[in-house]
Symmetry: C3
Subunit: 291 residues, 3 copies
């Protein structure tokens, strides 16, 4: 087993301050051979669950390396910092480093699960830059140094802890209702992307198995009802119709579509327009799809 | 000829989602020796023509490597993905990879033109990450793998296609009118930068040849009329005056200037202020300069 | 002494345009062995003093390398471009490159000061990319090439100049008032970060020495009065109370705290909320802390 040479970095630091740059500089100093790839730093401030879901969706598409994730409103408090080694040894990230506040577990589940993972509680390290140690920037002072140590192949990360004890965030809502001869799937909006695509927690397998692939069906429309704090009050209770399609280009201008997105999730989309704006919807809302 | 070791990446992905990070991760996996340089990811969503113009302006300032450009509202539809090798062999990028929707051609023209280019249609690649293939994220699944293959020196990119058949975007408007004893140049606003500088499609050569360099003339004022949807209705039809200058520091506070910008384009500017805000102008507007 | 292999890059270029990408490309071409780390590019446009303060706070946390800083409203005008070598030789950046407009001096002071520094005025370089030279993008045409030359170990940077002649920005305000049996520290707000933390120019040493560490005191409240253009008019003249704490987690929801932040500065903070929004405060405002 060779030491990793890539760090994948996700945070809620934003790009306005020098937080991200200083973490990069720390990694450059401690593991100069490692490339650092920014996944995103625009997780909403303090949004641990949003960060956890974004990270879990990204990790299956990453190669070998160390995931460094920092969405950490409890910094300096009682929550632990941990390093996790996943139990399998393929071409995906083998390591996760971050606060033990729920941020890491969905990604760990996407990388093999808790059962075969090994977890260490990161010991506070002597501050190697002089001056008083800080307790408010563990990304710089604890987590990046741990990621750097892993990239250097160091074995002593801290005290082993029980993976079962890792803090978990609530899973996104997906519910099924087969009453009245129709199938309804209620799913949480997990994310809106820059283009206004509305990603749902539901996947292809949450739809009835007999629904054909979009290319094999002339027209299949799904009723979409937004059950949400931000829903238009004047919206028709019966919902709006979305066409089941393969890709954006299958849609007319102004038409709402339902497709399987590049992460394998169901998503409500429009062609060159924002479905999120058209539906007046936000992350955390519930959507009922009725087929 | 050695394989390139630098990828220049431009897109409309934004930095809020993990799209850009996942493409970086794909390149890291497939071409670990290559450095990836982000040109920008803030092209307006779906704005192929804006992306094409930004890319064409940037490429003369880049060194050898592969340009990876993704502004791709037609993803998954009928448009092709292509790799282009330019016909010359100097110290600028020799390769362009992107959708065949007009995004690449202006940059290709800045790098030697269609005549000497070689173009391949990228074959769909077997999805090498497991799971169902996606048709909505060709940046990750088709284009980045092609850029990676070029950086590995691979020769088999797909079927050769005729460069003359590449899709083109409309060129930005530049018109000349010498009637009535005065010279008028009408030019499209190609971009507003972060500082509010208003870049025009016209270049120095579009002005009358007898106009001296700014440093050689006491004061030359140019009449600027905005012919635009966003123009102030109360604006004087005769336009406002801009002084012909070399740089921002030649201007008084509040004074409008006309200069040749760092890409060789004419631009309307102010000193430490936004000319775009002062003129109430937007990309795509037309400006008439009368000398 | 080996040539540096890391460039730390800070600017007000933003990420919407290709400025940052083109500077990266220039460094890649001229010093391909160097890693380029972005500190931030979201310094407010033209805000030399804000950029200087952000840079000074970041540099103690960086490793060896070259700092490239560009906030340069005077580009093309009379101000000089300079390269600075600091007088000490430890594991922090030894080089600073930027315009001589005050941007570099606070960082230089954090890295050993003016007394032992060596400064060169950068000579204009022949434009090595063909076409007319530009006078409006010295980041690309003068400063990045100088940083690249330093990374290549080149000795001839330009004419030596007197460090004492470097332009300085006004230091942020910190005043002490011990009248009336109470201690008041008036300090300028130096920065608001993404989380709404309000960083002050004052440090721990500006508070009375007898104040215990937060963990050693049951409850110490400090009166906070905002003396600012943006202060709520209805705000109580006596100010609001902030509790002296070690970290965010020590605070109740909605409670204002005062702590020593990760740069060693006093900061007004809240737990998972924006103290800046609660106080209606902006960078440049004055805050009076009364103990």
């Amino acid at each position: 087993v060779t030491a990793p040479d890539t760090v994948f970095f996700l945070s809620d630091y934003g790009l306005r301050d020098t937080f991200v740059g200083v973490v990069h500089a720390t990694l450059r100093r401690l593991a100069p051979h490692a490339a650092v790839i920014d996944l995103t730093h625009e997780i909403a401030p303090f949004d641990v669950r949003g960060g956890a879901m974004a990270l879990a969706q990204a990790v299956p598409h990453l190669g070998p390396g160390v995931v460094l994730a920092v969405v950490d409103p409890g910094v300096g408090g009682g929550r632990r910092c941990v390093a996790v080694r996943t139990g399998h040894d393929d071409d995906r990230p083998r390591w996760l480093v971050g606060p033990d506040n729920g941020l890491l577990v969905p990604a760990l589940e996407a990388l093999g699960g808790l059962d075969t993972a090994t977890v260490w509680q990161l010991a506070p390290r002597p501050h190697d830059r002089g001056g008083d140690p800080s307790v408010t920037f563990d990304g710089r002072d604890v987590l990046a140094p741990a990621a750097g140590a892993i990239c250097r192949g160091e074995a002593d990360l801290g005290a082993p802890v029980d993976p079962a004890g890792l803090v978990k965030v609530a899973a996104p809502v997906v519910e099924h209702d087969n009453g009245g001869g129709r199938v309804t799937v209620r799913a949480e909006v997990t994310a809106l992307d820059r283009f206004g695509n509305v990603q749902l927690a539901a996947r292809r397998a949450d739809l009835p198995a007999q629904i054909p692939a979009p290319d094999d069906v002339r027209t299949l429309r799904v009723s979409v009802a937004v059950m949400a704090r931000f829903a238009h009050p004047e919206r028709d209770d019966a919902g709006v119709a979305a066409r089941w399609v393969s890709t954006f280009g299958d849609l007319e201008r102004g038409e709402l579509g339902l497709l399987v997105d590049s992460n394998g999730c169901l998503a409500l989309v429009m062609a060159e327009a924002s479905a999120a704006a058209a539906l007046c919807i936000a992350a955390g809302d519930l959507v009922a799809l009725t087929i």
